[in-house]
């Protein structure tokens, strides 16, 4: 236990030490000041007809993002559907079904990376590389671009534009994602993650049986899937597979990679709006929720399960679905990190988690993926809640709410309030619909309240653009592929478009100087209010259904009941 906590502290210290300089660097990248890759970016801009210094109105910015994602969707859909006709398919895998290709293409374009498929048994090497890995980069870069545009909008005074989507997206990929991925991928190969175009190995085991071992170009994909908060693995079991996550050192590198950009964005934001305290306040709010969540998951997983056989060592905690080299501590850490950050990769099977451990992971997603969240979009999701919070604070003292000197008026509040409906619709309405038409029940693996949790987790994951799963759910059926796909679209664009609109309207406003009556948005009072707002909104929405799922299961186990 002491060793586990020491590992958590080490992780936190290294994370912040990396994120602060990275945040400063990203602020320079989005300001167009980083220049060592000009030779690479210039011909790309020229070929695409992009003038990077030309600002776009928020609607043009949003349209560019949608157009780019549409092109990405179309190309990925075609690659997946027709992978059997394309090269680099050493196992001769067939093309994906229409609804699976639809679900997977949406999943990767929206940075969700939900896996309705088993990687090693479904995807050709070409699909993994040219299809999925490409989207791992550019869907992440799209989210980062949104954060840059929003920060710019808040910082600018009476401007009609919020930056250039193409420039932001290209620079996020070239200056941030690619260089770090290259270093990380090579470190992972060093630790034992394969990277080869050869086909599966055939071994003869010590007992004389034949064992087929899937390998492939794994390391490159794993690096960017963690760094871009993507999460879709090369293998079915994702990062619990020894080839994706061979050692505790690899585990630390990967779990750092998941959070480093989302954490860095707090600091990037502070620099871009010209007041670093604002970024630190967001970091504090996110950090508080993160530490509480980690403590809850760890405490729950290390608890003995009273239904286990009497001669099993209780102090070992819940090892079902976990790997020996990682143990309960690293599995709990990863579960918190991956669900807080909308990454969605797993290093242990969340379906086998204790009821409350699994519940906290699910709640992290249901809160809207704002506890650091996905690269870029986590920050902007948090800013929507900041707007709601300053509005509430304004109501309390009877003043027009302001944020960074900008008046928050009816239009901004309406848009922010609209986004509060995204999670309830995607999670509650879609799950309820699945249950009513019957497909919900037939696809779950576990009986009793745990079955409901399995379904809820899937729709929370899809709407939160997370991608992790209670993997017992048979998701690869027409109904779930379709509705989870729709939930992912809702969860992506239902946040991005309103926040870009808010950014555009705030950019156009004048900035009032702070006065004695201004409510400061950087102190502990504000951080407390923000955390409370997040928890109240989340609890009001989801507590009833959590009581039916994980809480009911927890109480059942305590009463000796199994299903």
């Amino acid at each position: 236990m002491a060793q586990d906590i020491l590992q958590f502290v080490l992780f936190g210290a290294v994370l912040v030490a990396l994120a602060i300089p990275l945040g400063a660097y990203m602020a320079r990248v989005f300001a167009g000041e980083a220049s060592f890759l000009r030779w690479l970016e210039r011909p790309i801009f020229t070929a695409a007809g992009i003038r990077p210094e030309q600002g776009q109105h928020w609607s043009a910015y949003a349209l560019a993002l949608v157009a780019f994602n549409l092109a990405g969707f179309a190309l990925l859909f075609l690659i997946l559907r027709f992978q059997h006709l394309l090269p680099w398919n050493p196992l001769g895998l067939p093309g994906l079904s229409g609804h699976l290709a639809f679900n997977t293409a949406i999943s990767f374009v929206t940075n969700t990376n939900w896996q309705s498929y088993g990687g090693e048994t479904t995807m050709s090497y070409l699909s993994q590389m040219a299809g999925l890995t490409t989207q791992n980069f550019v869907s992440a870069a799209s989210g980062m671009a949104v954060a840059a545009a929003v920060a710019r909008g808040l910082a600018s005074k009476q401007l009609r534009t919020i930056g250039n989507f193409w420039a932001d997206m290209v620079r996020a990929t070239l200056y941030v994602l690619l260089p770090i991925s290259i270093v990380l991928a090579l470190l992972l190969v060093w630790q034992g993650v394969p990277q080869t175009l050869d086909t599966s190995l055939t071994a003869t085991t010590l007992e004389g049986a034949e064992q087929t071992i899937a390998i492939g170009p794994v390391a490159g994909q794993i690096a960017i899937k963690q760094l871009g908060t993507n999460g879709g693995g090369f293998f079915n079991v994702n990062s619990s597979h020894p080839f994706e996550n061979p050692t505790a050192i690899a585990n630390l590198l990967e779990v750092l990679a998941i959070l480093v950009i989302p954490v860095a964005f707090c600091f990037t934001y502070g620099r871009m709006v010209g007041d670093r305290r604002q970024g630190r306040a967001l970091f504090a709010a996110m950090g508080i929720l993160f530490v509480v969540g980690l403590g809850a998951i760890y405490a729950s997983e290390i608890q003995p399960n009273p239904l286990y056989p009497a001669n099993v060592v209780a102090a070992d905690g819940n090892m079902e679905g976990k790997e020996v080299r990682l143990g309960v501590g690293n599995s709990a850490l990863w579960a918190e990190v991956t669900t807080a950050a909308s990454n969605g990769s797993v290093n242990s099977m969340h379906d086998s988690f204790s009821p409350l451990g699994g519940m906290v992971a699910m709640l992290n997603m249901q809160l809207g993926e704002v506890i650091f969240g996905g690269v870029g979009v986590g920050l902007t999701g948090m800013l929507l809640l900041v707007i709601v919070t300053v509005f509430l604070a304004g109501l309390m003292v009877g003043r027009t709410p302001e944020y960074l000197g900008k008046k928050i008026e009816a239009r901004e509040i309406k848009l922010a309030a609209l986004t509060l409906l995204v999670m309830p619709i995607g999670v509650l309405a879609f799950s309820a619909l699945s249950l009513v038409v019957g497909t919900g029940q037939s696809a779950v693996l576990n009986q009793g309240p745990h079955g409901l949790t399995e379904l809820l987790y899937a729709y929370s994951s899809a709407t939160g653009n997370n991608g992790s799963a209670f993997a017992g759910l048979t998701a690869n059926v027409d109904w779930h592929n379709t509705f989870l796909g729709l939930a992912m679209l809702l969860g992506r664009f239902g946040y991005i478009i309103p926040i870009l609109a808010i950014s555009g309207s705030l950019a156009a406003k004048r900035t009032a100087p702070a006065s004695a009556g201004t409510f400061p948005t950087h102190g502990p009072v504000f951080v407390t209010l923000l955390v409370a707002t997040i928890l109240i909104v989340g609890a009001l929405t989801f507590l009833p259904v959590l009581a039916l799922g994980p809480i009911a299961e927890h109480l059942s186990i305590a009463a000796g009941q199994s299903f």
């Binding site: 695409a48 550019v138 991928a185 086998s352 576990n446 993997a471």
Partner: protein
Amino acid sequence: MLSHFRPALVLIVVFTLLCGVAYPLAITGIGQAAFSSQANGSQIVRNGTLLGSALIGQAFTADRYFHGRPSAVNYDASTSSGTNLGPSSKALLAALAERAAAYGDATIPADLVTASGSGLDPDLSPAGAAAQIARVAAARGIDEARLRELVAANTRGPDLGILGEPRVNVLALNLALDAFAP
């Protein structure tokens, strides 16, 4: 919208070539050159025969070998899966009870009776290996104390002394066992 077509199409093609082809090929090239063994799956070859991967568990059933953890895919490494059974599942609890019963009243670590996340976990906890010493010693007719030394010699501590858990690679242990007492 139309003005966005050109950048969208050009960029998706450019990034597919750069991130989807050039990047993985570059990593493959450098990885193969610098870390050839790891890049090819950490293969264990004896007398020209591929025995498996140092990172992937394999199925052991004979009494004369140490057994790895229960696996949802019986160590079929062409795929991977956990059981995904929840903590209140009757199916899980029945499986645990059956596996635990095989050890009688002896206290056993949780990893010995629970299935791993990947179904391919190559490791056991040191206690998980220790619990099998009596059976292996009887099957091979060797001294338990010698076996305890062998397990200790094949136990790795946490990485860098702090990361992860102490563990015994089952395939490596069984290879050492064959070499020590064929």
